[in-house]
Amino acid sequence: MRKTDLKRTTTGVVIVITCIVLLLGAFRALVRAPAGLAEKEAGAALFQETGCTQCHYTDSRETRIGPGLEDLFERETLPASGRPVSEENVRRQLESPYENMPSFADELDREQMNLIIDYLKTL
């Protein structure tokens, strides 16, 4: 290999690597990330798919099977357990519920729980 080839090769390698790195970075940010709004939708969808809606209203405080969750994060305490409202305590409810609600510890991973909690904050 000669010196002119080296220049061409180096330039080629630098350009190819830079492009791939930037493209993959952009792909990750734009395609994969559930950005802002999309994140809320994902949370709402998950709330529905997981079956929370079967036992909880989201637009009132009336009890269905479990307590209604409207304005949940604007309250001082959680409706059933009376614990202070916090992400931590809601997560705790999902992992090891207070009384009769089924546990979702196996069904939801941490990221999904966060999505749902973020959604509950918007109610």
């Binding site: 290999m1 010196k3 390698v13 690597i17 790195v21 993959l24 950005a35 990221e111």
Partner: protein, 438 residues
């Protein structure tokens, strides 16, 4: 060339591997800048680790490119890595990290580890690029390099392992560990185990012969029962002399001036250039020397189909060409070779007698033209330098000829420019760029 391309693609693929893994498997954030910053750091780290592999004189890699080209690629990639890794904190700051990340003092220790890695890396690259201007001796630079390079990698590894969100995923942790398991042994082998092994099997100096003013040929023979490693005429090797007597022990590379057809010994013809080479004349028969070879692609043996060669040599640059001429002589080769050989004066011409013997022998069909820039009064031959006009005058038809150029930088430069002006295509010009640092 196919093999070279394959290796280059492999290199690029390894560099972007963690970026791809993170893009598909890692957590993502909606900020393009943030993701670009992370990706650049991942690729930059991979380049750093692969630097170790590029520099370790691994034959499988070297073979396809030649050592001089490979080491230059290593250098270019270092600059690229610095740019990628500098962009990493800048983009992180821009994408929401804030300037605190860059100038703040109350940062966790692993951020400092990353900063230290970056600063050391930049200093290391600057020292390598400006070794000359900093008046670093080759050996000093080498020790510095061998010390800072692994330190940079260890710091970068720690920083990314602790600070990097992506490094929480199993796939990236695996890649990181694999790279570390690759780099550490390669580095240790290259810096410690191979030198040790070569020292144990050191060659013996069997002759030190003065050839011309300030030029000596050192002949080395392998230890009992061992063979000389295969080499091509025109290749070079690394030699470390163990001479005792308070003489420096440093590894340097020299062209092999003997031909593989000459059995039982291997020789280098070395000129006193004022550095380590000023101690060569003190080498004695019986001294030991660790030999690591052979490298380089400056050899007509890789292009046997080319029958019409022009050798352009300046001073001690004759050595690889001499190796090739000896090889042609010993194999009864009939190709035609025109040698233009530039020196300052008569006393500096190396191999004068042997060259005229080969010329008289007719194999190869050799024509030697000596060109002296400051000849004595009785000089009958040509005076001046090897330039465009002289090449044209002696070659006549340039088409179909292949040029081998070896000599000091100024000579090399003017010859290459001359050939270009004459319309000789780059692919018909073969160069030995002997210093790794210019």
């Amino acid at each position: 060339m196919g093999g070279a391309l394959l290796r280059i693609i492999l290199y690029a693929a390894v560099v972007v591997l963690p970026v791809a893994a993170a893009a598909f498997l890692g957590e993502s954030s909606p900020s393009v800048l943030h993701e670009a910053a992370r990706s650049m750091a991942l690729a930059g780290f991979m380049i750093l680790v692969l630097q170790v592999v590029l520099a370790a004189r691994i034959k499988w890699i070297e073979r396809a490119f030649g050592f001089d080209i490979l080491i230059r690629f290593h250098k270019h990639m270092a600059v690229f890595a610095v740019l990628l890794l500098l962009a990493h904190p800048l983009l992180l700051a821009l994408s929401g990290g804030g300037w605190r990340l860059l100038i703040g003092l109350d940062l966790p220790w692993y951020i400092y580890a990353g900063k230290a890695a970056l600063v050391l890396l930049a200093l290391n690259v600057l020292a390598s690029l400006y070794q000359d201007r900093l008046r670093l001796k080759f050996e000093q630079w080498r020790s510095l390099h061998a010390f800072t390079a692994p330190l940079v990698i260890v710091l970068a590894f720690t920083h990314s392992w602790v600070a990097g969100d992506d490094l929480e995923t199993a796939s990236l942790r695996t890649i990181w560990l694999v790279m570390l398991c690759l780099a550490v042994p390669v580095f240790a082998y290259h810096r410690f185990f191979r030198p040790l092994r070569l020292k144990q099997r050191a060659f013996r100096v069997v002759e030190v012969r003065p050839e011309a003013e300030d030029v000596h040929t050192v002949k080395l023979a392998p230890p009992e029962g061992e063979e000389i490693p295969d080499y091509l005429p025109g290749q070079f090797h690394f030699v470390t002399f163990y001479r005792g007597r308070g003489l420096p022990v440093e590894e340097h590379h020299w062209t092999i001036s003997s031909s593989p057809t000459e059995k039982g010994f291997i020789s280098s013809t070395i000129k006193n250039l004022g550095d380590f080479t000023s101690t060569i004349w003190m080498t004695k028969t019986g001294d030991r020397a660790a030999v690591h070879g052979a490298f380089g692609r400056f050899s007509y043996a890789l292009h046997l189909e080319e029958k019409d060669l022009v050798f352009l040599a300046g001073g001690i640059g004759i050595t690889p060409l001499m190796s090739m001429l000896r090889h042609m002589r010993d194999t009864g080769d009939t190709r035609s070779v025109l040698l233009l050989y530039a020196n300052r004066n008569e006393d500096q011409i190396v191999f004068q007698k042997e060259l005229s013997e080969i010329e008289a022998g007719g194999r190869p069909a050799l024509e030697v033209v000596h060109v002296l820039s400051r000849p004595g009064e009785i000089w009958q031959g040509e005076t001046g330098h090897i330039d465009r006009d002289r090449i044209l005058e002696h070659c006549g038809e340039l088409k179909g000829k292949v040029f081998y150029v070896c000599g000091p930088p100024a000579m090399r430069q003017s010859v290459v420019t001359g050939l270009r002006e004459l319309g000789v295509p780059d692919r018909a010009v073969r160069l030995e760029i002997f210093s790794f640092l210019d």
